[in-house]
């Protein structure tokens, strides 16, 4: 999939998050959304009147709130403004970033605020996910989106001990990152010394997928503000972070697709291969300084690192084992703690570029990577293995790369 020259460059100039938690009884949906919007405006040093357009997204059937942007407009600040509501399931948050990028790049809007939210406590998450299945056929067979097939494939490929240790090492690494992020939902204080215990005793869900491996169910919202290069030149409160390119790869629904093992080429690999090729990135591991990956489970995360970085064989396991993905490693993964720590679904995929942008700015606080972050990768995941992948940059220095 080719891309033509972007009409104009687009920067992230504001980021606002709520904290993430299993319960927010003291806020209704609007108030939770508004908290993120106000934080983003404060971060950008803007007033609501500076925003030209709002882009909203979440998943209707979790909260069972039809066209929720209409009510949420009280908190998004959409009154009197242009507004779009765009959704793609789990990838929604990342799709909103793509949409905001498109809207600003098009020249139709100057400054756009995107908001992703979910209040999973208000709904039934598993029921909502089961509702994804075809009502004629699969809905009676399916419970949520759990599978142990990836674990089994990794065990088959790398041996039981090594595969299980890899998944648990990733899981504990995520918790260590989450412990540094005060907004994260699940912060357990796990230690690598607990690896054996967790591998044996964490309640099994499906096959070798255990409760400890799975992502959380959270309440929370994330808002981001985007503007054009022309506006950035007039000055921004915080350093701008540039959206260099983004790509979306969807696929048909089948149950094997939902669980990802029906490859010829995994969507993640297709997205990464195409995106890196058209941006002239030969060696993604060397190029990127951080990767915020949508990691719904530790098993999937480990498996997907191979796909996203276009690695082969056990390269990804060797890197994991060598600590390359740690916060002080060569290419840190999810300094925020990732989806395993915090998962307000409609905001989850937006948190990836949001956290990646904070790393580039050097504003991530306790979970800031120590070395300079110039190039960041962020991914979203949803549907039947749908992928969004985007490249964020500290400087506008990729222009010499030939696009078209």
């Amino acid at each position: 999939m080719k891309m033509h020259a972007k009409n104009r460059n687009v920067a992230i100039i504001g980021i606002g998050q709520t904290s993430f938690s299993s319960h927010k009884e003291d806020q209704n949906q609007v108030e939770m959304v508004q908290e993120a919007v106000i934080n983003a405006l404060a971060d950008a040093g803007l007033k609501i009147g500076d925003i030209d357009c709002i882009v909203h997204g979440n998943m209707e059937l979790f909260e069972m709130q039809f066209a929720p942007d209409l009510w949420h407009s009280l908190g998004t600040g959409a009154y009197g403004k242009d507004e779009y509501r765009i959704t793609t399931g789990g990838t929604t948050g990342a799709t909103l970033v793509c949409a905001a990028d498109n809207l600003v790049a098009s020249g139709l809007y100057g400054t756009v605020l995107a908001i992703g939210m979910e209040k999973l406590q208000e709904g039934n998450t598993t029921g909502g996910i089961t509702n994804m299945a075809d009502p004629l056929w699969f809905r009676n067979l399916q419970t949520g989106a759990l599978t142990g097939t990836t674990a089994q494939e990794m065990i088959d490929e790398f041996g039981e001990e090594r595969a299980k240790r890899a998944a648990m090492r990733y899981r504990i690494m995520m918790d260590k990152h989450a412990m540094l992020n005060p907004r994260a939902h699940r912060r357990f204080g796990l230690e690598y010394s607990q690896m054996e215990d967790l591998m044996a005793n964490s309640p099994p869900l499906v096959g070798e997928l255990r409760l400890i491996h799975m992502c959380s169910q959270s309440d929370g919202a994330c808002a981001m503000i985007f503007t054009s290069e022309e506006k950035v030149k007039q000055g921004t409160k915080n350093p701008p972070v540039w959206i260099r390119d983004h790509i979306q790869v969807h696929r048909e629904e089948t149950i094997p697709n939902l669980f990802g093992f029906n490859k010829p080429e995994m969507t993640h690999h297709c997205a990464a291969r195409t995106l890196f090729a058209r941006n002239g990135i030969q060696d993604p591991v060397a190029y990127f300084d951080v990767f915020e990956m949508y990691d719904p489970s530790a098993w999937w995360a480990v498996d997907w690192l191979r796909e996203f970085f276009l690695l082969t064989g056990d390269e990804h396991l060797r890197m994991l084992e060598a600590g390359d993905f740690d916060l002080d490693g060569t290419i840190p993964i999810n300094p925020s703690g990732g989806v395993i720590a915090s998962n307000p679904i409609g905001a989850t995929a937006m948190l990836r570029p949001a956290e990646a942008a904070l790393q580039i700015r050097g504003d991530a606080g306790g979970h800031q990577i120590k070395k300079e972050v110039r190039h960041a990768l962020a991914s979203g995941f949803g549907g039947t293995f749908w992928t969004v992948l985007m490249i964020l940059e500290k400087e506008l220095n990729w222009q010499e790369v030939n696009h078209d």
């Binding site: 609007v30 108030e31 009147g49 009280l74 709904g123």
Partner: protein
Amino acid sequence: MTMQEDHKDCFVLEGKMALPNQYFAGRLGSRFLIAIRDRKKIMGLKCNQCGKTFVPPREYCEKCWTKIADNWVELGTEGELVNFTVVRYGDRHLPKKPPYILGQIRLDGADTPLVHIVEGIDPREVESGIRVKAVFAAKTTNTIMDIDHFEPV
């Protein structure tokens, strides 16, 4: 698209989409609803910037983008019916059996009319401008229906 299709294998599968939910009114909404439930009082929120008093509650005046969450004002439990319709169709989501009057009631002290049900007057005789008062519900639902309906003063 005039393709003639064979319908012999087509049928309709009866089903249902149903999910349990638990909604939270939030701290502000809870104070508003508890005032109705426990104290039979209807509270509004006033924006000091534009001077308007709003009901139902919201944290911000969206036009001024000013926080009004703590600026409670007690409204009257009476007001003026400023607009109405007569609901004559039946549907599961409706709180009353048709026909009934659904109105917009501007409570004394409020700038924004509240949508609620009006009873105690024949739908053929109702007209805008009449004074109505809140009749509080005997059984609480922790919603705006803790005002059961309004009726002419």
